[in-house]
């Protein structure tokens, strides 16, 4: 069995070399490997169901230890045409804010399942991402996809996440909160995409969050990424036309690998005319992921946001220290500490968080 796993690892390495840009489960893995999102994920913009390559990467190259009889034949494929996958995250956390009693709790953060049905190989498929728990089920993504998501043009229509910046696992990152575009805010519409060599581009027309209740207006989102083996750079923009006022978002993001460290950076500017007088906001992220050993990753993150660029002294920062240990295929443990710094008169902006997470995936 060890021999089979070694062969699988070698095949992965060869495939990785042959591809112009391969996979991710978290964007730091993409930067670390030089892969594009579509190498490991069914969704060409990343996140959600891993494809066969992604599943094999996750069980062979990601964990500290490979197990002979663990998931050895599992690729997520139920049949030639149907592939499934899932993620379950459960946490314990302790929040401490000034002048407030500490809170601690165990929580089921999420259990999500994904399915991809291939109707015509490399041309037509249906994809679903459903959150099963906690609470009731909630559809995150459900779309029809036509065209090749590995080389050439494709189109998808339905409900999906918008392509904008780094698709981080932490949806509360300042860059995701300030832009309002994250894996918590899927939208309905169409996406035209292009994948070729080092290039990846998307153009979306969707309803826009601001128009959820009015049925008028629309949002246009576009992103272009250029990926090389040790670096990448991307630019993204989004514009929402709405009765309540237009909203424009622009962002630049980049990744760089230096030895065992993957660096991620993103800067975003928002101008929101739906707020009284119009308001400009800014957010930034710098993340360093140090692959200490196989299966061990240390993540350091520094973040910044300015909730109103015309108001002085209101900036906020956030620093995180997270250790990720992937002992076995399908299991990851995370532990971390996060400190928020904001204006002294606001307790929430100065909280501290200790976090432990158990993540099972297939």
């Amino acid at each position: 069995m060890i021999q089979r796993l070694t062969i699988a690892a070698l095949m992965l390495a060869i495939v990785g070399l042959l591809r112009t840009a391969p996979a991710e489960a978290e964007p730091y893995l993409a930067v670390m490997t030089g892969y594009k999102c579509n190498v490991c994920h069914v969704n060409p913009t990343g996140g959600g169901l891993r494809n066969e390559f992604g599943v094999t990467y996750a069980k062979v190259l990601l964990p500290a230890e490979t197990i002979d009889n663990a998931l050895d034949s599992w690729t997520g494929k139920i049949t030639d045409r149907l592939q499934v996958g899932g993620d379950l995250r459960t946490d314990w956390s302790r929040d401490t804010a000034p002048n407030s009693p500490s809170q601690q709790a165990f929580a089921l953060e999420q259990f999500r399942v994904y399915a991809n049905l291939t109707l015509i190989p490399d041309r037509l498929g249906i994809y679903v991402d459903e959150q099963i728990a906690p609470n009731g089920t909630q559809n995150e993504e459900a779309y029809v996809r036509y065209g090749s998501t590995t080389d050439g043009f494709y189109a998808k229509g339905g409900q999906f996440y918008l392509p904008f910046g780094w698709r981080l696992q932490d949806q509360t990152a300042f860059v995701r909160e300030v832009t309002g575009i994250s894996m918590t805010t899927p939208d309905k519409g169409i996406e035209l995409g292009y994948e070729h060599a080092a290039w990846s581009a998307q153009f979306d027309v969707t309803n826009g969050a601001a128009n959820a209740t009015t049925g008028s207006g629309y949002e246009v989102t576009t992103q272009v990424v250029y990926t090389k083996p040790i670096w990448r750079v991307g630019i993204a923009g989004s514009s929402t036309q709405s009765n309540i006022g237009d909203r424009h978002v622009g962002g630049l993001f980049a990744g760089l690998r230096t030895g065992p460290i993957a660096w991620l950076a993103e800067g975003d500017l928002v101008h929101d005319q739906s707020l009284p007088g119009g308001r400009s906001l800014a957010a930034g992220l710098l993340e360093a992921d140090w692959r200490v050993l196989k299966g061990h990753n240390l993540k350091l993150t520094a973040e910044y946001q300015d909730p109103d660029r015309h108001v002085s002294n209101d900036q906020q920062t956030r620093y995180s220290f997270v250790y990720e240990y992937t002992p076995l295929p399908g299991l990851q443990l995370r532990a971390g500490y996060r400190h928020y710094f904001g204006i002294p008169q606001n307790n929430t902006q100065n909280q501290q968080l200790i976090l432990m997470e158990l993540h099972g995936y297939f």
């Binding site: 946490d91 929040d95 804010a97 407030s100 809170q103 929580a107 999420q110 906690p134 609470n135 909630q138 949806q171 909160e177 309002g180 575009i181 826009g208 969050a209 601001a210 128009n211 959820a212 209740t213 009015t214 008028s216 207006g217 629309y218 929402t240 009765n243 006022g245 909203r247 030895g259 065992p260 928002v270 929101d272 707020l275 930034g284 710098l286 360093a288 140090w290 200490v292 350091l300 520094a302 910044y304 909730p307 109103d308 108001v311 002085s312 002294n313 209101d314 900036q315 906020q316 920062t317 620093y319 710094f341 904001g342 204006i343 008169q345 929430t348 902006q349 909280q351 968080l353 976090l355």
Partner: protein
């Protein structure tokens, strides 16, 4: 030893860069700001009022500092803006987009108010709010939610300050959804007209207001009345709902208060509605909108 040194070198480099960032990007000192990071108004102290079961206090202590971090402006999830200027009108008596059979806030009935279900974590759809709780930020405590429950039980009254300031103001329209800003891409199932005072439900019925479909290019302006039902929201007496009997096809529309009705169209204090732009019959046009149904 060399191997340990070489192993630690990247980490030291990462720490150095991040430390530089820490020094370069400090948080604001809050000078001249209130507790929610907004500029102090002249004479203001900047301190928050104690949390109590009234809307002003809930807005200042919960909606503004916690909820409006995400639920603000054009990017607000589900279109729900919880900043001070919008939250009341978008909460009270307004159906939830996730579970339309439930109102976000149903006055007098906290258990069937969707906001309570979301805050307590037993809503039928989606995550508990505030988003990320309890993992990445604290959930609201039971005692904090109790204040919101009490406010709803007491009838979900609006801001006391706003009520005082506007008490003498004439009855007027504050917002219409949809309005004339952008064409509506699907026939709106209902049209909501929000007023600045509680409407007198005994004065208002389907004869009080109607929808007209305009014939473009006709001179003088030609129009036909679209059958519709007009009701005051049982949960929010400041919201007038107009329900078209049939899906509105593509075209230009306007909302008109019938001639003679303005005197009968009044609030609970007997104030008549301020007259809008008169149409060719002298009736009061309060809003126009365009429907462009996609093929």
């Amino acid at each position: 030893m060399d191997s340990i040194t070489s192993l630690m070198r990247p980490a030291a480099r990462a720490c150095l860069v991040l430390a530089s960032l820490v020094i370069a990007a400090c948080a604001g000192n809050g000078e001249g700001l209130d507790a929610n990071g907004r500029p102090l108004v002249p004479g203001g102290t900047g301190s928050l009022p104690p949390l109590s079961a009234d809307f002003d206090s809930i807005q200042a202590n919960i909606f503004t500092p916690i909820c409006s971090v995400c639920h603000m402006g054009g990017g607000a999830p589900e279109g729900l803006r919880l900043d001070a200027g919008d939250s009341f009108n978008l909460l009270v008596g307004v159906p939830s987009t996730e579970v339309p059979s439930l109102m976000r806030v149903k006055p007098g009935d906290p258990d069937n108010s969707y906001i309570i279900q979301k805050l307590e974590g037993h809503a039928a759809v989606g995550s508990q709010m505030p988003f990320g709780c309890p993992t990445t930020q604290p959930c609201l405590t039971t005692s904090t939610i109790a204040f919101i429950r009490q406010w709803i039980t007491d009838g979900a009254q609006p801001s006391a300050a706003a009520a005082t300031v506007h008490a003498a103001a004439p009855l007027a329209v504050t917002s219409v959804v949809p309005d004339g800003g952008e064409p509506v891409s699907a026939p709106p199932p209902q049209i909501m007209i929000a007023f600045n005072h509680d409407l007198d439900v005994t004065q208002i019925d389907s004869r009080s207001m109607h929808i007209e479909k305009l014939s473009p290019g006709a001179s003088p302006v030609a129009s036909e009345i679209v059958p519709a039902r007009v009701t005051v929201s049982s949960a929010n007496p400041r919201a007038l709902m107009v329900w078209p009997s049939l899906p509105l096809p593509s075209g230009h529309y306007r909302l008109v208060i019938d001639a003679g009705s303005p005197s009968r169209f009044s609030d609970v204090a007997g104030r008549s509605v301020a007259v809008g732009v008169p149409n060719e019959l002298g009736q009061s046009v309060i809003s126009t909108f365009v429907v462009e149904v996609l093929p």
